[in-house]
């Protein structure tokens, strides 16, 4: 079976992570990519990142001095960066194919309708 649709948030998170980025960077990048239309909230992003990590679609790359075992209270060491995996890239490609199908069908059928209306008048 084809993969189910990705949420808008997941789609844009995966796209952003074609290069390593930390959480706040993702939020800013997604807003910029969508011309301010998609504003990811931090709590939602956190949940999505954890799910994507579990699924293996993205990886955490240890930032400067960040160790998962000893969570440091030092603010400077906190920032964790994430990057897309091969599995994540494959999911992006199949999603783009799905979106293309939606757009092509939409355009084709709506165009037909316009032509019907023209021939009616």
């Amino acid at each position: 079976m084809a993969n189910p649709a990705l949420t808008e948030a997941v789609y844009y998170i995966l796209l952003s992570l074609m290069e390593p980025m930390h959480g706040y960077g993702i939020m800013q990048n997604v807003e910029q990519l969508s011309n301010g239309r998609v504003k990811l909230a931090a709590g939602t992003l956190y949940g999505a990142i954890n799910t994507l990590l579990e699924k293996g679609w993205i990886d955490a790359v240890s930032g400067e001095n960040f160790s998962d075992k000893g969570f440091s209270r030092d603010k400077g060491n906190r920032k964790k960066e994430y990057v897309i995996t091969e599995h994540g890239k494959a999911m992006l490609h199949s999603e783009i194919a799905r979106l293309n199908e939606l757009i092509e069908n939409g355009n084709r059928i709506l165009k037909m309708e316009v032509e019907y209306e023209k021939s009616d008048s």
């Binding site: 948030a9 939020m27 931090a42 709590g43 992003l45 969570f71």
Partner: protein, 181 residues
């Protein structure tokens, strides 16, 4: 100057509470600390801050919670207090709005966390309420401790009402989810 206000909110009134805190911030009083029915404010530039509430999944998962709070603080939010599992954030906003959840799914999950906790408390109160009343009437152990069963039962009813109210909110959100993301 610090200002302390004591105010009671029912467990299902968290949206009202958040709204009230934001109205205070809009008037120039921003939240700096919370306690049991107690809110502490400081002067701020009116409209400078936005307040948001969140509910932790598991209070005991200290490392997990610290990671979550650290993540939110990286994005400019500032934790001002914690009460039970409720956690209060504020953020300086310049035009943009401060939200913790931006899709239906995470909002539903937020309500689910609250419902589970209230249902658990309510269930425990129901159990101890019935047990205490049984001790009082059947075993004829007329101690005041057993009469406390009335309080337990009352709390169980209030909790049950809370679960009902919040579940209704969640149902509305879920209905929307069938059409929109």
């Amino acid at each position: 100057m610090r200002k302390v206000i004591h105010k009671w909110f029912w467990v299902w009134d968290f949206e009202k509470e958040e709204k009230w805190l934001n109205e205070m911030a809009a008037k120039g009083l921003v939240l700096v600390a919370v306690g049991w029915c107690r809110f502490e404010f400081e002067d701020c530039v009116p409209g400078e801050y936005k307040i948001r509430l969140d509910f932790l999944e598991n209070k005991c998962a200290r490392v997990e919670n610290e990671k979550y709070i650290a993540f939110l603080e990286e994005t400019g939010a500032e934790q001002v207090g914690m009460m039970s599992r409720w956690i209060y954030f504020r953020k300086k906003v310049s035009g943009d709005n401060f939200q913790l959840f931006s899709d239906n799914n995470s909002r539903v999950h937020y309500l689910t966390r609250i419902i589970r906790f209230v249902a658990l408390l309510s269930g425990l109160n129901l159990y101890f309420g019935c047990y205490n009343m049984f001790m009082f009437f059947q075993i004829r152990n007329y101690s005041y401790i057993n009469l406390l069963g009335i309080v337990n039962l009352l709390l169980a009813v209030i909790g049950g009402w809370g679960v009902f109210r919040i579940s209704r909110k969640r149902k509305k959100l879920k209905a929307e989810q069938q059409i929109f993301e």
